[in-house]
């Protein structure tokens, strides 16, 4: 699967979030920071070749930054979409949005008044109008204040967002981790480290097999009780 990350940021050089994400996207996605003026030919080619298109931006006054709105206005035309607007149909559209405010401020009755999903509705409309599947957004709240543990969790969540079928199930994320551990084991040169990675992977998969088994038994018991 080819993933295109379209980055719309008014001051990319000053961002601490975007370089963090860029390093994580290496080998997983094509990183495409927006800079006007746009070359429509190159923009169209990048969009046509992608299977998953990620719009990545900081939320600016509850919307996309001006550079991304300009890009949407200029590039999303008949030349890109085709006469019946189906040229992007079947692709996936996702959003990675960073917030300067705490996540729990977004919601009915909260300080910001509406949910993130509600603020992102115009982009969801774009996905619907162009026949693209809409992915649940990945929200990054107050990156600058995040703990190291939170950032490590974000790092993995971001890589999974670029590569995993979405929305992902717990078992999918476990399998993704197992695959990455396997790849890492092949990269390391020290046999001891390779062995430890293999052992950790084995524990992960064994525990998941146990969980799958128990869950299947439980499902059977629940079904039996219903009769």
């Amino acid at each position: 699967m080819k993933t295109l990350v379209v980055v719309g940021h008014p001051a990319l050089a000053d961002s601490s979030t975007q370089p963090f994400l860029k390093a994580l996207s290496q080998d997983l996605a094509l990183w495409h920071p927006l800079a006007a003026p746009f070359d429509p030919y190159n923009e169209r080619q990048a969009l046509w070749q992608a299977d998953r298109i990620i719009l990545q931006f900081p939320l600016y006054w509850y919307s996309v930054p001006a550079i991304m709105k300009q890009w949407l206005d200029e590039i999303f035309d008949d030349a890109l979409l085709g006469p019946d607007h189906t040229r992007l149909a079947g692709k996936e559209l996702g959003v990675v949005v960073s917030l300067g405010r705490p996540r729990d401020e977004f919601g009915a009755g909260q300080k910001q008044g509406f949910t993130i999903d509600e603020y992102l509705r115009p982009l969801q409309g774009l996905a619907q109008a162009t026949g693209m599947g809409w992915l649940p957004p990945l929200v990054i709240s107050q990156f600058a204040y995040q703990t190291e543990a939170q950032r490590q969790g974000l790092a993995v969540a971001y890589q999974q967002y670029l590569t995993l079928p979405q929305p992902s199930r717990f078992a999918d994320r476990v399998q993704w981790l197992a695959t990455r551990l396997d790849q890492l084991a092949q990269q390391v040169t020290a046999p001891k480290e390779r062995q430890k990675l293999a052992q950790l992977r084995a524990v992960l998969l064994a525990q998941q097999a146990e969980l799958d088994d128990l869950t299947a038994n439980l499902r059977l018991v629940r079904e039996t009780e219903e009769f």
């Binding site: 994580l24 981790l177 390391v188 950790l200 524990v203 128990l214 629940r222």
Partner: protein, 57 residues
Amino acid sequence: MNEEWVNQTVAELQAALPAYADRALLAQLQVVLAEQQHRLDLAAAELDGRAWSKRNW
């Protein structure tokens, strides 16, 4: 799962691996293993509870 062994092994590997993404992967592995254990505990408890429900006796 031997949690102590997992934590120690992860810490040793994190010290040996220079790439941030790899260290993050190992940190997330600990989180997922703990989540798996939690789900196992919940599922086992529910199975136990249903097996001992009055309707089955």
